[in-house]
């Protein structure tokens, strides 16, 4: 029974973690695109 409680808390943080990584990667990609000189 308690397994589901821990699972719920873990899943909550896993989703936020994955989303944050997704945002961070996008931030890095945009930063490199900003630095690319225009042709």
């Amino acid at each position: 029974m308690l397994r589901n409680l821990y699972l719920a808390y873990a899943v909550t943080w896993a989703i936020h973690g994955v989303y944050f990584i997704f945002l961070w990667r996008r931030h890095v990609r945009l930063k490199s695109e900003e630095g690319t000189p225009s042709k």
Partner: protein
């Protein structure tokens, strides 16, 4: 600006830690369900936060249709995306709580079904924004968002209007319903913490959206210039 953000991050992390402690340890154990009820302290604040983010998306969409400002469109996109993240958490923590308490993972009752529909509406909104190439995309997305938001009050009222497997409201419910003050404190602590975190993530996503708009605009201008050069 940067020290302010760092301070906000520190405060948010402290609030999240405090909320976790309140939900897991400080709040009393519920009599009927036992410790599994502690999912409530993540499940309900996630739902409230998602509702608020969808409301921000609704207002930003109306504002965009009125003023056509790209920054408002970026705000609409950021709030919808972060709202979907919180709504996903609601849809996962709910069944994890339901299984040991009801004996089933899912049932097609009014609250659960309308919440799933809400999630699907905003996922379609994000898909539309991601894959549509037209310059009309922000307008179409804003129209979808305005109609999509109509589901939020239905989700909120579903447990008041219809008899559902989902429990009746403990906050703002019928006379006699309510929460123990220490449970209420744990609930509100987590709500404040989740709201702070949502504001932080949304700010980050908003800045990315503005940057993407600017890069796209530059790309469009470059393409136009090269086409003009070819014509000459």
């Amino acid at each position: 600006m940067r020290p302010l953000i760092v301070l906000f991050v520190v405060v948010t992390l402290a609030l999240l830690g405090f909320g976790f402690y309140q939900g897991m340890y400080a709040a009393p154990t519920e009599q009927t369900m036992g410790d599994i009820q502690r999912i409530f302290y993540y499940h309900v604040p996630s739902a409230w936060t998602a509702f608020i983010l969808f409301f921000v998306n609704f207002v930003a969409s109306i504002w965009y249709l009125m003023k056509r400002r790209t920054t408002t469109d970026a705000l609409a996109l950021a709030s919808a995306e972060v709202g979907v993240v919180f709504c996903t958490i609601v849809l996962i923590t709910g069944p994890l709580w339901a299984k040991p308490v009801w004996g089933i993972w899912w049932t097609w009752d009014a609250r659960l079904t309308t919440t799933l529909v809400l999630w699907l509406i905003y996922v379609s909104y994000l898909i539309l924004r991601r894959f549509s190439d037209s310059q009309q995309t922000p307008t179409l997305a804003a129209a979808l968002a305005i109609f999509g938001f109509l589901d939020v009050p239905i989700v909120y009222m579903s447990i008041r209007w219809w008899r559902t497997q989902h429990p009746q409201p403990v906050i703002g419910g019928a006379p006699g319903s309510g929460l123990d003050p220490s449970m209420k404190f744990a609930l509100y602590s987590n709500f404040v913490a989740f709201m702070a975190m949502a504001a932080l993530i949304m700010w980050f996503r908003y800045r990315l959206a503005v940057k993407e708009q600017r890069l796209e605009e530059e790309h469009r201008a470059r393409t136009l210039r090269s086409q003009l050069r070819e014509v000459r």
